[in-house]
């Protein structure tokens, strides 16, 4: 019994240290990779506590390894948008300009009931009120109503960390050429962008890296 007590205490502090090291957010906001790590950690930690024949190291080593790998991967995702897209996916617009993208819903394995439920959770009970709905990488749905947006889609992120996003630009009916032209007019190079948002009407906002704190 004393062994179980000591093991439980050691693993308790190890898990606290591990979660602190990962810098986790709330459970509901976990990215897919973070959710996997959390489930694995909770499972691995119980093994040496329940089974006294297992050496403590068989619990400690995988926990430390998984946490370190998670930190390395999250650092990589911070540095590269491509890796971020690969690991966490990207937000998907399931309703744009008030129109539902049925093929995307199918691709996301989102049923109409799931969509309606997600809208209700955002206090939207009439789908015709929705101007834009986005499924975030965490699986949560963000909604912008026609009333809030005055009948036009809100600005989209079309560039970040020195990179333009062709997919986002085409979603607002523009292309990279247009974005570069706008950047040139602002006296800003593509690699200097920190955030660039734009909307269908052609209005855009650029925040340069040098303007950040």
């Amino acid at each position: 019994m004393l062994t179980v007590l000591l093991r439980a205490a050691v693993l308790y502090f190890l898990i606290i240290a591990a979660v602190r090291l990962m810098g986790k957010r709330q459970i509901g906001e976990l990215q897919p990779s973070e959710l996997v790590i959390t489930i694995l950690l909770s499972n691995i930690a119980t093994l040496p506590i329940e089974d006294r024949s297992l050496p403590m190291l068989t619990g400690v080593i995988p926990i430390v390894t998984l946490v370190c790998l998670d930190v390395f991967v999250s650092q990589l995702t911070l540095r590269s948008r491509r890796i971020r897209k690969l690991v966490s996916g990207e937000p998907k617009m399931i309703i744009t300009q008030g129109r539902v993208n049925a093929s995307l819903l199918k691709e996301l394995r989102f049923s109409v009931d799931d969509l309606m439920e997600a809208l209700r959770q955002m206090d939207v009970f009439d789908i015709s009120e929705v101007q834009l709905a986005v499924v975030e990488t965490t699986g949560q749905v963000s909604v912008c109503t026609k009333q809030d947006s005055k009948g036009k889609d809100p600005p989209l992120l079309v560039g970040a960390d020195g990179e333009l996003m062709p997919d986002a630009l085409s979603a607002i009916g523009r292309d990279v050429k247009w974005a570069r032209k706008m950047l040139h007019a602002e006296g800003c190079r593509e690699e200097d962008i920190f955030i660039m948002t734009a909307e269908r009407s052609g209005a855009y906002t650029v925040i340069k890296k040098e303007d950040c704190l």
């Binding site: 810098g23 024949s53 050496p55 080593i61 390894t65 946490v67 370190c68 930190v71 390395f72």
Partner: protein
Amino acid sequence: MKRLVICGLLMAVVAFVSLYARHSVLDRSESLCDMTDAVLAAYREPDTALARLDELERRWSSVRRQLGFFVRTDRLEEISCRVARLKAMYTDGSDDFAAECLELEERLRLLIV
């Protein structure tokens, strides 16, 4: 950046412990296998066989605790029982002594798996 450095250090420690564990188990199991071989070779010489058996018992009791950090204890307990049985089997002149030695050797080899 600080977090990255801590993780790098932790990974280095984990890699070191893992390699040390592998080396340690391999080294100890090989030396115990050699000792079991020596017991088997001295099977027909009463004086040396008993001395070898004592040596094996002593070595096992010193190694068992160290191996407990890396190997499941139920596997170690199984080997402890077999080592303890050997001496009694030898003094009783059991026909199964050689088979028991070979089984012990196999279990020691399996420690690394």
